[in-house]
Structure formats: C-alpha cells, structure tokens
C-alpha cells in the first residue's frame, strides 16, 4: 500500500506531504500526518469526536485553516485525533468529524508541539489523485 503521508525535512521545522485517492482524502491524511508528529497515532483512542467547519478563500488556505483548527483544538482542549471523516468538501469550505481523545499523560508520550501550519510551500495538487504539502512551525 502506498504511504498516506511522509515527512519533509526543514532546518528549523517539519513538513508533511500527504496523498489520497482525491484531495479530500489527502486533507484527512495530512491531519493524520500532523498528529503523528505530536504523538504515536496508534496510541490515540477513538473516545470522543468533534465537528469541524472551516472556510477559506481558496483550497490552499483551506488546507492551512483546516490544520490550524485542529492545532487549536489540541492546544486549547488537549484533544488528540487519529481519524477524520471529511463529510463535505469544496474549494473554500469543509465540514468534518474528527475522532480522538484528550491527552492522557500516562499513555501518551507527546513528542513535539506545533505552533501553526504555515503558508510557505503550501500546495494542493489534484493531478494523479490528491497530493497536499504543508510546512509547520514547530
């Protein structure tokens, strides 16, 4: 099976390249890739879910806004997510259900904090299924 996502190296920070059968799936895999930087994905149980709605002016900023919304939920509510169902998806709007649980320090070994998804190197590519790229400020 092809990889869902891979890391992009950067001197100070880290990026994610994510793939999918279409862009919608690549968005979900980018989110999984992002949480894999924070903690082992396998350690996140599906205990709770959150509904997420994001709007932006174009599909690249939608990608940044989507990931930044999840970073905010992690930072403000300590929520870790490992599975994402993007139920509605357009160029400037998405609605999703994210499954996960709050951080439990006895089980979750947190690796790195993410300040934000940046717009540097941000890419959404629809050719050959879906491929997206994003660089985080760590």
């Amino acid at each position: 099976m092809a990889k869902d996502f891979e890391l992009i190296e950067h001197t100070a920070d880290v990026g994610i390249m994510a793939y999918g059968a279409d862009v919608r799936e690549a968005f979900a895999n980018a989110a999984r890739g992002m949480f894999s930087l924070i903690v082992e994905l396998g350690s996140i149980g599906e205990v709770e879910h959150r509904y997420i709605e994001v709007t932006a002016s174009d599909e690249e900023s939608l990608l940044a806004a989507w990931l930044n919304e999840l970073i905010c939920l992690f930072d403000a509510e300590n929520m870790l997510f490992s599975r994402f169902e993007i139920t509605e998806f357009g160029d400037t709007f998405l609605r999703a259900k994210a499954y996960g649980e709050p951080v439990d320090s006895s089980r979750h070994q947190l690796k790195v904090g993410i300040k934000a998804a940046t717009y540097h190197m941000l890419e959404v590519d629809r050719s050959d299924g879906g491929r997206v790229q994003v660089l985080f400020d760590i």
């Binding site: 002016s57 900023s61 070994q109 790195v112 904090g113 300040k115 717009y119 540097h120």
Partner: protein
C-alpha cells in the same frame, strides 16, 4: 570552480555581502547578509538567499532586506531576518514577526558562585523543573479570568509586577518596559484568548528553556560591571520563552486575514507566508494592535517565570532574594515588529522594524535604552545551544547605522529536527551533557535530541561576526551548568 554564491553576491566588506536586485525580479531593494565567507556556503545551501530576496518585495522596505549571521531557512522570512518598512506607505507582515510573537530572553544575575551552586545544581534544576510549568500541553498555575487576560494584554509586565510577580525594577530593565502601547484586546480572537488563558506562566516546549549558567569569560570588565557581572564563575539564570498558544493563534488569524487583502491593496508577494497589509490600513493597524497584546502576554509570561525562578533559588539556597542579589539584567524580544525612528539616507524616518529571530541592539545614549544602561548600551542576550554557552553583548551606534539597531538572536539551527534525532538519541545527548558537567531535565527525550549542540551553528562564530561587524559588542560569555527543557 568557485562557489556558486560567488556569482550572486557582492562583497561589501569581510562580514557583509549584498544580494543585488537583479537576483530576483520584483526585489525593491538589495539584500544584505552579515556572515563570514566561511559561513556563506552553508547559508547558500539553505535557500536563505531566496528568502532574503523575497522579503525585499515588501512595499516600503528600506534600504535593504537584512539577514543576521545566525540566519537559517524559515517559512516566509528567514529566521534571522530584519526588514524595516516606511510607516507612511509601507506594509507590516505578521510572518515577519512569526508565530511565537515576542519570543525572547530574560537574564537574571545572582551573586552566587559556581562553587556554591555546583554542589546543589541537581537540586536546583529539579526545583526549577517542578516550580516552572513546562512541556507540551502543560497548564500554568496561574488562574486568570477573562478580565485579567485583557489587563495582561494591555499592561504586560506591569500586570505581573502589580500582582506580586517581581517588581518595578524588573520592568525598568525590560525592552519597552515590558509593554507595547496601543494594544487592543478587541483585535484578538476568542480562540487566541481560549489558548492563552491556561498557558499564561508556562515555559512551553521545543527550543524554550531555563538555563543556570556560570560566567566563563569577561571581554570588557567595565561594561560587564554596569550589568552587575563582576567575576568569572558568577552564576546567572537565562529564561527563553514566548507568547505560547496565544501568540501562535494571533499570528495564524492575521496571516489568514492579511492573505485575503493583499490583492485588494495591489501587493505582489512571492510567498503567501509574507502576507501583509499597509501599516496605515485598517487590517495593518489591527494586526499591530493584536501583536502588541501578544507581545505584552509574552513579557507577563517571562515576568511570572522570573518570579518562580527567584522562589526556587530562595528555596534551594535558603537565602533571601537580597542576600543572593537576584536582580534582572535585561529582557529582549527576538520575534517582533516595532515602530521606531531611524536615520535612512540623510533623514529621520518612522519605520516598522520586523525582527524575525533578531534582537534589538540600541546604543549608549539612545532614549529607548533604559537609564541603567544609558552609558554603555542596551544589553543583548544571545543564547547558544545547550552544550556550548551563551553571550551577553551590548548595542552599538554602528548597528543603528546599518541594521536598524539589530543583531543576532542565537546560534541558529544547522540540522533539521529529524536529522538531529537520527544522529543522536535523547539519552546520548543527556549523557554527553552530563560528561561536560551539565545537568538536564527535559519533558521529552526526543525533544532533547532535537536540541543537541550538533544541530546548531557555533555560537562563538556567530557572535564573533556580530562583534567584528560592529553590530553588537561582545561583553560576557557564559556556559551552562544545568538546563530545564520543555
């Protein structure tokens, strides 16, 4: 064959190199990189030239897009970038400040010596680790209301001092007296406030730290004395952190907002992370008012942490603050935009100086240099990496003339985080530090490996260039005894 950068750069002097506007069409001004010839090869490989060139696209930039010797590849701006834009018709760019608004460094001096602290360093580091909330997802021990948070945003360090965390003497020796005026909490989103409330009074993770260090060299005894640093072996404590999730969200919100208006203002930028708006526009003004809130939050944060550092020292050494001479030396911001007056050409000009991983370095006699340092210049605090040490420098007149009163902010990263982790494990890093007599307590071992010495440029070399170039004067070098990492 000569190095590829030689075909691009024009040598200004041994420590300054110019990227001409012909490098990329759209540059409004040339770029200038402060570096030794030996460092340029690495800087070239790092794609820094292109980032310096991209910043030169910003409307109203004068007269160069600048890079300090610790420069490395960032997102949008390079880390170590300085850009001044005309207040009258130039732009402000949130990416030129970064997500960690007013990330900065604060230095506390003691009159304790290495002989006194050495035997109790493990106890002290443990006490600091327990007393200063740190690490990913940590919550502060402060309980602040929405109203308190609004006051923090407006008052900065003064709020902390009024609530018993330090005092007016600390505030006096803080950049901008720990408060940028004109902060408007209305310009900050509910999300930023939600992230900010539980994190006030926390160190955070990543490259943030508390370091107990000892003075290892004094280059100018008179200037050092002005900062209360009198002898080799004197113990200091360095605090490095910023505005936490509060500042990250402010930047996130405004990069998105300004990204939507660049077209409206007819601005051409080569990288979306350079999103910007005219300083005089409603969006530009709102960003500066929100940024001031985050900057003030960061100063409050460091002020509270300073207080807990003092408490920890009092507890471990069973002496009073006064007996140990626990006075703040200074506090600098190194991710910030400031409206300042500078001489450009022959005229005074109001400019917005973006310092993205760069430190203000104002000279003796400058009205913004605190009274205590008016005769010697503003202290510049330059942390290195965990193993090699840090510097205290002073601002200079030369910096005012060539870098808008700015100098480097640290050593600068050289290795990616994953490369650092591949090359060394956290446990090995801890052992290597222990072999050097440095005690470390870290929230995450992987995090520790990412911050290994080898991942950074040599701070001695970086500071040597700023000293030789005259943009700050090297005064004191200190080496770590113990470190708390988030």
């Amino acid at each position: 064959m000569s190095a590829p950068w030689k075909q691009v750069l024009n040598r200004v002097n041994d420590y300054c190199w110019e990227i001409p506007t012909s490098y990329t069409e759209g540059m409004r001004v040339p770029g200038r990189i402060y570096a030794s010839e030996a460092m340029l090869e690495h800087i070239w490989q790092e794609k820094v030239f292109q980032q310096v060139a991209n910043v030169a696209f910003l409307p109203g930039i004068v007269p160069y897009s600048l890079a300090m010797p610790d420069v490395h590849w960032g997102y949008g701006f390079p880390i170590g970038g300085v850009a001044a834009t005309r207040v009258s018709d130039g732009v402000v760019s949130p990416g030129g400040v970064g997500f960690d608004i007013n990330c900065g460094v604060r230095l506390l001096r003691t009159n304790l010596t290495v002989e006194e602290v050495g035997p109790r360093i493990e106890k002290l580091i443990t006490e600091l680790y327990n007393n200063v909330p740190s690490g990913l997802g940590s919550k502060g021990k402060l309980r602040v209301s929405d109203k308190d948070l609004n006051e923090v945003m407006v008052k900065g360090s003064v709020w902390a001092a009024e609530h018993g965390y330090g005092d007016a003497a600390d505030v006096e020796v803080t950049e901008d007296a720990g408060c940028i005026r004109g902060a408007d909490p209305e310009k900050v989103s509910a999300k930023a406030k939600q992230r900010g409330i539980p994190q006030l009074g926390t160190l955070g993770s990543g490259n943030h730290f508390l370091e107990v260090e000892r003075v290892s060299e004094i280059f100018d005894p008179d200037a050092a004395r002005a900062m209360g640093i009198n002898e080799i072996g004197q113990v200091l404590v360095l605090i490095h952190c910023g505005s936490r999730g509060f500042g990250h969200q402010v930047c996130t919100d405004y990069v998105a907002l300004l990204g939507r208006v660049v077209q409206k203002y007819g601005i051409n930028i080569p990288d979306r992370q350079l999103a910007c708006a005219p300083i005089q526009s409603p969006e530009g003004k709102s960003y500066l008012e929100a940024m001031a809130c985050a900057a003030n939050y960061a100063w409050t944060n460091r002020q509270c942490i300073l207080h807990w550092v003092r408490e920890s020292l009092v507890s471990v050494f069973d002496k009073s603050r006064r007996e140990m001479g626990l006075e703040q030396v200074y506090d600098v911001a190194h991710n910030i935009a400031k409206i300042e007056k500078h001489i450009v050409g022959d005229n005074g000009l109001d400019v917005c100086v973006h310092r993205k991983g760069a430190t203000r370095a104002f000279p003796a006699g400058h009205p913004d240099t605190p009274e205590a340092y008016r005769k010697v210049g503003q202290p510049v605090l330059i942390p290195g990496d965990m193993g090699r040490g840090s510097y205290i420098a002073l601002g200079t007149e030369e910096a005012m003339q060539v870098t808008f009163g700015s100098t480097c902010h640290g050593a600068g990263r050289m290795q990616s985080r994953s490369a650092a982790k591949r090359n060394q494990r956290g446990a090995d890093v801890a052992r290597a530090l222990a072999d050097k007599g440095i005690t470390v307590k870290a929230g995450s071992m992987a995090g520790l490996a990412e911050e290994a010495s080898e991942a950074y440029k040599d701070v001695d070399e970086v500071v040597d260039i700023t000293h030789q170039a005259g943009i700050s004067r090297r005064i004191v070098r200190a080496v770590p005894m113990g470190v708390v990492k988030g």
